[in-house]
Symmetry: D2
Subunit: 241 residues, 4 copies
């Protein structure tokens, strides 16, 4: 059984009535709700001790899901470094929506991760452009969300290892809304849906994608490579040694 | 005329007689020596004020070359951030040899950038695996170095946007020794040769590759994209605005 | 001076009054018209001897531009093979619009190259998602075409080496509308605009992209690699030879 | 249970005593021998009716393994087209060793697929450069083969979607010896080991890689995309339709 930890900033839900109506127990509890059908799920939030991400929690996590927005800067650098180390060791990471500017995603990408955005209740259609990928298994040609925040190009990310989804917005923009990356031994999936005032995490196809992505980025039983000073594997001439 | 700044840590050459014999005026001066045939070249070193990388110097630099080894940790984070910002704005960056673990390269890659290594005076053959790329123009099938430090896989980098060279070593290892990346508006080239005790930067083909790479990663006249809140380009229904 | 050959099927223009009004001398002549400002340009068409693509013509061509639509099947396989061989040797190839299903593009891609399409006079916005690439130099954030044929995902192509443009359509689709590939020593650029009833090749930015692409995919002075039986470069033990 | 069909040219084994000693029942039977522990395995060979690849056989095949060498030209084009169609529909394909110049691989790649080669009984070390990939699960840092045919760069293939292995040869060459591609709905893995006079398919790690690759390229339950004329998903202005 894959062990998933859902991390949520959990601020909007406490301070904003509109958000609380959509996610009364927090975005993390809604994510946990549908994920626990298939996985062993814990949650962790910003205001817990060590943001709920102790060494022990991370060591027992196969896949970490990250949602954050208004409090990226409050995440301690030491915890970001801890998560970063675990990703390089092999923990999967799913970065949702506004977490595109989380410290951990920016640290893994090396770019500004900036983009265009607009809150206008407009329609979003998420096109599957990689039909043989396990992340889109069972999804079909596109996901249609009646309302989602517009995220538009240019999205300042490295070229994805695999481009999975391209989003269309009614207002005229496009966005690389599903992207995979490998960093160290870890696999990363960025997925666009999930503005706090819209019910995106209740949408069956959005849920399905996140479940597929958990399976895809769960660690394989690979040995972590060795680094540093290495003896030659072939005999070198004597004078060379 | 492309403006190149060659940055060198410049420590080995001052403290190690063997290195001084190879690079009596420092690695940066040897790089400058052959680059100034084709480019406008400045140098900068670690022990200068702001490591020689003031805002003005960077703003006038089209392509920055970086060589460092034993003093990566002495490079100030504020200067690393300054260089990082300039790369995202469009400045080219060529990362040489042991600079694979420089702060700036690690920050741009998001990984440990670790690898295997060995100093055994062994032969290195650098195979061109991307024959239509401008970086290998005029290079032929491979570059042979009688002696180079072994750098071996696994090299903990993101999958390169383009793999240009694969190195063969006598002792039995291989290495992705020439890799390109785009980050923000900037282009980056990592190139393996250049251990401080070997005359790699006197080799005509190594020089040729660096010159080609400068042309390749020099900024184009592209507008930097706009980010942030964006008005719709298409008319949305009234109730949406 | 780069030598460009513009190949056009040249059938719509002869049989369809609406097309003739847009391109009275054929699409090839309009492409030649603006390209000859910067390049040495010849044209060739389907109904010429050997489709205008003799060995001599191809040997003198640095970059071949291909437009075809209703008569892909009339292109002789022997000529397709000749063009294919020249691309692998290093000739650049720019594949426009409906040439996505030309024999030469399908042969180079290995896939069906199929897609969704619709002729509805709808708006197309072509977003630049690779701002540091030479093909988008001077183009800005997007190209807006008042009317273009809709081409929609899934586009059955190999993942592009570099994704340059993503198209947005009013009717709700997206499309990877600018893609680069390297095949053998040759560079290939696919570019979506150019339906025969719309004036896309009169649009300054479309023209600019094609000019940039010609420079990008023009051959470099690289030696073609050698293939076949190879002597060892290192001494093998006697019993091995 | 995944259904695997192992296709073998099966000529060397019948005519060459040295090969028969290594693979007395043919390479296909040795592949079947270790694969049937985990999969449902059939075999097919060149000299069977329709090369053993009837519509029925292919329709029941999840993953096809292909080994060929001296008789590529005897494979009928109609059967190649049938296999090609099935790959685009989603059938996995594993291309072994000298099948790099099989008609089916060349058709899927679009390039010459040529390379350097040498039979000198030399050592080959296959380095894992993608440690989080499912194809290398349990493999460790490298596979060492005491003897394998040298295959050297330049290997004229499209840049792999994912580079998995790089081979080192005693004679001084390197080779991209493990490469993945997606074409249509199908996944493809090229793997270098398997010269007919060496016991490579008895090596536990080579067997392990092929088993991992079968799991990786087995079809997912994805709907095949629709292509062709498409109605708008959004309302267009009346005059546009």
């Amino acid at each position: 059984m894959i062990h998933v930890t859902v991390w949520n900033e959990y601020r909007h839900e406490l301070s904003d009535e509109q958000v609380r109506q959509v996610y009364p127990n927090g975005i993390h509890e809604q994510l946990k709700f549908f994920l626990q059908e298939d996985f062993t799920v814990k949650t962790a939030t910003l205001d817990e001790h060590e943001h709920g991400l102790s060494e022990d929690v991370l060591n027992e996590t196969d896949v970490l899901i990250w949602w954050g927005h208004i409090a990226h800067s409050e995440v301690q650098d030491s915890i970001v470094d801890r998560v970063h180390k675990r990703v390089l060791e092999g923990m999967g990471l799913i970065v949702l929506h506004s977490a595109h500017m989380s410290k951990i995603f920016m640290k893994l990408m090396g770019t500004s991760c900036d983009l265009k955005w607009r809150e206008a209740n407009e329609k979003c259609r998420i096109w599957n452009v990689n039909p043989s990928h396990p992340i889109v298994e069972g999804i079909g040609e596109y996901i249609e969300l009646e309302q989602e925040e517009m995220y538009g190009e240019h999205f300042d990310i490295p070229a994805p290892d695999e481009l999975i989804f391209i989003n269309w917005y009614q207002g005229g923009e496009v966005f690389r809304g599903g992207c995979t990356y490998r960093r160290g031994n870890g696999k990363i999936f960025y997925f666009q849906p999930g503005h706090e005032t819209y019910p995106s995490y209740y949408h069956p196809k959005v849920q399905h994608v996140i479940k597929n992505a958990i399976k895809w980025c769960s660690p394989t039983e690979n040995t972590y490579p060795t680094y540093g000073n290495a003896q030659p594997l072939e005999k070198l001439e004597e004078e060379k040694l």
